[in-house]
């Protein structure tokens, strides 16, 4: 404070005392600094407006101001397209090339108004829907404004409605596009019919009330022959079939498109679609019908009667899950065919239909993006979106699991397993564990993870001599997750995680555990079992280690599992669970149980009877577990993990695995695993 005051008082005196040359120099420098600071300040305060400045670059113009292009009558007409086009013959993949994101680049030609020689416009410049569609493309990650980097070109010439097109002139206009080249890599959208008409949001909430009609036909301009066939169905099956038609006696001002009639009854359209289980979609002059979109939106199961109709996006959408396709010839049998669909499946189809609409038909944006994604999938098939992602509604995606080890393989016994012992400094006990485990016939390697950075592992000569390779891995940090690292040294699929104080498991028990794992290679197969319970008083999960009749977890102090789960634990553990475990030095086993159950949807397998996991000279798991604070902490872990996973993936079961002849009245020496359950 003081210093600055001094400076201020002496400041003004400073300048006149200096030489003019210096003065100018300093003043310039000062002003530059000042400007710089002001500029910086401005950027500091306005950083967001710079990033979101798309408004600055988007032209604010009217559609009527777009440049006019006159098409001379003799301008070239493009050759007729090649009807036998396939992606590999007509699409120039070199334009797309390899890119690490596996995304195609789409360019949109700028909008022009085309007029013929007499100045009459060739078409409506652009429709509302096409503008929406182009806007969606332009906002998507596929868009590029660089025509040279683009792999797909979208003309701005609106050809959605073929009825409103002047074919020859439109073709001429297309041929004028700078990269047309017989249409190579160009994408045209043609919609009529089948676009999404813009109703209000009356249908946005799907209804759960029972549907009054079984079959409904709502199309207006049906061919009389179809109509008579439908009416025959109605005559046969009565009230449950409803055939609607155009209203003839509507008062003025009521839009005809929003009403349907049956005899003298008037129904609101599209609301009436929600009243029926199945809705007929019959072909008209064209195969596709706009009613399909309305039907999907209403969650009514479409019954498609249009031979040879390629349903929209059928390359990726599995329409069998959302619709019933009936050959035109079989129309008279429609009722009995639909009757044979199981009720539970109908419910699912209704959900599926609604989901298709929401995801792919709801707006021009949805249609545009689905189209581009399909083309993208064709160009980068190895990065394509999977069937499940396209077809499973969010509810199914959420509740279903896709097991990463889905193939029912029983791994060969000869492979054996790798035992991993995590240790800190209990060398004596560690050596006993090594000696015990080495007696198991199927052990193929032993890996000691030395988690103590302050102390070196004992000299090589001091380690027990065992018949399989023994490797010691030293870690950089004393973390529990080191136990679950997918070390390159693990060459077998099966991993036995074992604590350095678990000396009470017999060789028979361990070998049997390995055999059980072979039958359930995608599960955790372990010895001590634990349970999670819902505590109704506290309204949260509770950890239980008492003698219970159920298990939902096994401790990884002694458990077999697939090496793949080490990989998952290390690289794919959701949220901050891994850090939490390392910070608390606890619950790594619970985290592993959550992870495996979440990804496979299956329960653990507890093997062999319960043992006292206590040894005289060490604090074993059970010893620790009895500790009250320990229990509280473990319960906390369960609650924490359940909130990170967003669900409780653990499965409770009432069984454990024993050898076939366990405790049976049978000579012990003839049993494969006689020494089981000894204390």
């Amino acid at each position: 404070m003081c210093a600055s005051a001094k400076y201020n008082t002496r400041g003004p005196a400073l300048i006149p005392r200096m030489k003019t040359k210096h003065r100018i120099y300093y003043i310039t420098l000062f002003s530059i600094v000042l400007l710089g600071l002001i500029a910086t300040g401005m950027f500091q305060f306005w950083p967001h407006s710079i990033e979101s400045s798309s408004d600055w670059t988007v032209e604010k113009r009217s559609v009527h101001d777009v440049p006019v292009v006159k098409l001379p009558a003799d301008s070239p007409i493009p050759e007729r397209g090649d009807l036998s086009c396939r992606m590999h013959t007509c699409f120039d993949v070199y334009r797309c090339g390899f890119n690490p994101k596996n995304k195609i680049k789409v360019y949109i030609y700028s909008l022009k108004k085309y007029v013929d020689e007499y100045g009459t416009s060739v078409s409506n410049t652009i429709s509302r829907e096409y503008n929406e569609l182009l806007t969606a493309i332009s906002d998507s990650e596929f868009y590029t404004d660089d025509v040279n980097r683009a792999c797909l070109f979208v003309p701005s010439i609106d050809v959605l409605n073929q009825n409103a097109l002047r074919i020859k002139e439109t073709a001429q206009a297309l041929a004028q596009l700078s990269r047309w080249d017989r249409g190579t890599n160009h994408l045209l959208f043609n919609m009529l019919p089948g676009g999404p008409p813009d109703y209000n949001t009356a249908l946005d909430v799907p209804r759960d009330s029972p549907r009054r009609y079984f079959i409904l036909s709502s199309q207006m301009a049906l061919h009389p022959e179809y109509r008579s066939e439908l009416e025959a169905l109605q005559a046969e099956n009565g009230e449950s079939v409803l055939i609607l038609d155009k209203c003839t006696n509507l008062s003025d001002g009521v839009p005809a498109v929003r009403k349907r009639c049956h005899k003298n009854q008037v129904f609101d359209y599209p609301q009436v679609l929600q009243e029926s289980t199945f809705c007929v979609v019959l072909r008209g002059a064209r195969l596709g019908q706009a009613v399909l979109s309305d039907v999907l939106q209403a969650g009514c199961v479409p019954v498609i009667i249009a031979d040879s109709y390629i349903l929209p996006f059928s390359e990726v959408l599995d329409w069998k899950r959302a619709s019933v396709v009936i050959p035109e010839e079989k129309m008279p049998e429609m009722y009995s065919i639909l009757q044979s669909v199981p009720q539970r499946q109908i419910e699912e189809m209704q959900r599926q239909a609604r989901w298709f609409w929401e995801a792919y038909f709801r707006s021009m944006k949805a249609i545009a993006l689905a189209t581009l994604q399909i083309i993208n999938d064709r160009i980068y098939p190895y990065a394509a979106i999977s069937y499940e992602e396209w077809n499973d509604p969010p509810a199914v995606k959420w509740s279903s699991v896709s097991n990463p080890l889905f193939l029912p393989l029983i791994p060969p016994q000869s492979q054996g397993f790798t035992a991993i012992v995590l240790t800190y400094d209990r060398v004596e006990s560690l050596f006993r564990v090594i000696t015990e485990v080495s007696k198991v016939p199927s052990l193929s390697k032993l890996l000691v993870v030395w988690n103590n950075q302050n102390k070196n592992p004992p000299e090589e000569s001091l380690w027990p001599k065992i018949r399989v390779p023994l490797k010691v891995v030293r870690t950089a940090e004393n973390k529990l997750s080191n136990r679950f690292f997918p070390y390159d040294e693990i060459e077998t699929e099966a991993v036995l995680a074992i604590d350095d104080d678990i000396i009470m498991l017999t060789s028979d028990e361990l070998q049997f555990g390995y055999e059980v794992w072979r039958e359930f290679p995608d599960r955790l197969v372990g010895y001590p079992g634990r349970l999670h319970l819902w505590d109704h008083e506290m309204n949260k999960w509770k950890y239980e280690s008492e003698w219970t009749n159920e298990v939902s977890m096994v401790l990884t102090g002694a458990a077999f599992y697939h090496k793949y789960f080490n990989y998952l634990y290390t690289y794919k553990m959701p949220g901050d669970i891994k850090n939490w475990v390392d910070a608390h030095m606890n619950c790594e086993d619970i985290a592993m149980n959550f992870l495996v159950a979440n990804v496979t949807g299956k329960s653990v397998i507890k093997v062999t009877p319960r043992k006292k996991f206590k040894c005289p000279e060490c604090t074993a798991i059970d010893g620790l577990s009895l500790d009250q604070t320990h229990m509280v902490e473990r319960s906390e872990c369960i609650n924490k993990f359940a909130s990170v996973f967003g669900t409780m993936p653990l499965k409770v079961v009432e069984h454990r695995a024993d050898p076939v002849l366990y405790k049976d009245d049978f000579p012990e020496k003839l049993k494969s695993f006689p020494n089981i359950g000894s204390l």
Binding site: N391, L407, L409, E550, H655, V660, D664, D665
Partner: protein
Amino acid sequence: MQTRKKYIFLTFLASWLLLFFFGGDQLRHFAFFSGRKTEARRNWPRWTDRSLLKSFADSEELQSDGDPSLPSPRERRAARLSVYKNSRCRMETCFDFSRCEKHGFKVFTYPRERDQPLSESYGKILASIERSRYYTPNPEEACLFILSIDTLDRDHLSGQYVRNVDEKIRGFPLWNGGRNHLIFNLYSGTWPNYTEDLGFDIGQAILAKASFYTESFRPGFDISIPLFPKDHPQRGGEKGWLYQDSVPPKKKYLLVFKGKRYLTGIGSSTRNALHHIHNGKDIISLTTCKHGKDWEKHKDTRCDKDNVDYEKFNYQELLHNSTFCIVPRGRRLGSFRFLEALQAACIPVLLSDGWELPFAEAIDWGKAAVVGNERLLLQIPSAVRCIHPERVLAFQQQTQFLWDAYFSSVDKIVHTTLEIIKDRLLPHRSRSRFLWNTLPGGLLALPEFSTHLGDFPFYYLQHGSSPSEKFTAFIRAVSPAGSLSQPILRLIQAVSGSQYCAQILVLWSCEKPPPPSGKWPQTTVPLTIIQGRGKLSDRFFPYAAIQTDAVLSLDEHASLSTSEVDFAFTVWRSFPERIVGFPTQSHFWDAEQKRWGYTSKWTNELSIVLTAAAFYHRYPAGEKPAGWGGSAVSCPPPTSLPPPRYYHSLFTEYLPAGLRELVDGLAACEDILMNVLVAAVTKLPPIKVTQRKQHKESVSQQVKGTTGAAGGRRFSQHQDCLNQLADWFGYMPLVSSQLRLDPVLFKDQVSVLRKKYPRLEKP
């Protein structure tokens, strides 16, 4: 003055530093400083008057598509027949559906002519059809016809080329322009162009062809099949080579190819470029110029060195040790390499533009293969390197599933072809793509049973659902007395005591009529008596009354307690696709006699759970048709129940009549058959649960009771049954297990009061 200057300079310096410290980051973003991107991205304009734009069509126009003046639908369909024919065939225009309506999907093969040459492969195809459940020897019943003329090899330079096919088929009265015919072909065209020409007019016949080119493929009509070698097994087939799931894939090579390099002619542009991606380390791409007689004429400078390198690697070794295998086009689009790579779990990288992939109508190849682009060969290495290890693991498993489900034998290839055609006949009763591409695959998930995923035992997890919480007990009564025996009364009491029991069905398979309803015990759950026909296999009749997913199948002599039933059911809910039961038996390979052996002795393993007391899912359970066996039916058919609506099932549909006869000739084969079938579907062993000792004693008494000659005969029949089934399947589907599932606290040293199932431990 000097110090002042120093201060001033220091101030400047400090302010500049500050400026760059705080402002530099922002400045870098500013286009003016960076010089990069002088113009921002030009997006599609937000038109000021966009809300005023007109819609592309008014809603009236959208809803009233259709003009009554158009030709009537019937006329139009008739008109289509003349347009969509031959090379533009569609099912609706070229296939006569009416032929399939009366007798269902039946396939007829033309009688073989003596002098007609028949290649080994075509012989196997015909044998597969004749073995299948769709076969009919009567052309009147048939829906689909298969020629006896060998059309597999249509390369007229080949020795197996059959001449004058056109003339011959025109002589067949059934030919009818090829309608409803299915023609198999592996090779078409010949040097130098290898066109798709078959050398005869197939007319309206469906073509099942290998190396199909998309341009000549009639979508929804033709079927692309894989090229298979002539020693491809008839049935069963070899297993895939993947026996280990590892992440990251621990294979020596990333990408391999070993094959011919065409110096000229069709396909040479791809084959000639393959050597470019060879890096000698993890990508091995070896080519040889040696093929044909006159290769030295076209020889170029690379040839000599390439030929030497080529000999250094063994093809089989490469297949075993690589993650990806290049499957490029040969002269034709498909090659043997494709199936070889699939079996080896070496993910195929396809370089064969325009190839309609085998069974692509059903199979989602995006999950098992990388579809590359011939024109972008040089990008392949980086593309496959970028594929995530988890995806590689999924790819590998999918190759094995597809190989085993659809390709490992001629039977599977032919059946897949037939099933695809069958699915087209009734689109509403056909498999969704999900069923085709998920274990156990389309040949085992039958749409006749249901098209709803939740009705099958396999998809609960993927579908996000679970099996029903109740079961139906199904008791078979055979006591000749005509009155209720003590065991059955006890059994009904025990089962009805279970909290999970929904209903009890008693199948009365005795000569005498069942006792009146008053004699039956009072139960809390509905008890229904069904009059059976005195046959063992009645048990597997798909009774519509079974509404639960789980069925508890019981013999009247089974002695079970409520605890046992409860516990077994909770176990079944964890393993709904398997048989979960009490008494077990096992099979073994008898090396001396070179056949499968069967034992009911106590062993350390089990592979068969007796259906005398077992839970299973009604999908495999309701298995045998009403007319099973076809021999004397003395009792009237069950009338108390409505006929099964959609309750067809795996056995009725899956097993052909031939096998039914085979098994029917052997008594007591149905246990084995059931277990073999479930194991063939799941590839997993059944599950044994705890049983009280008492039960075993009664079983052993039973066994004692049937010792002697009868017991011996029974035993050898078991053995025969096992061997004949293994022969029919082409392999032994049964899988052994070494474990039994017990309650968590079973025989633990803890108070009985704490145990949920204390009764299971009673001696």
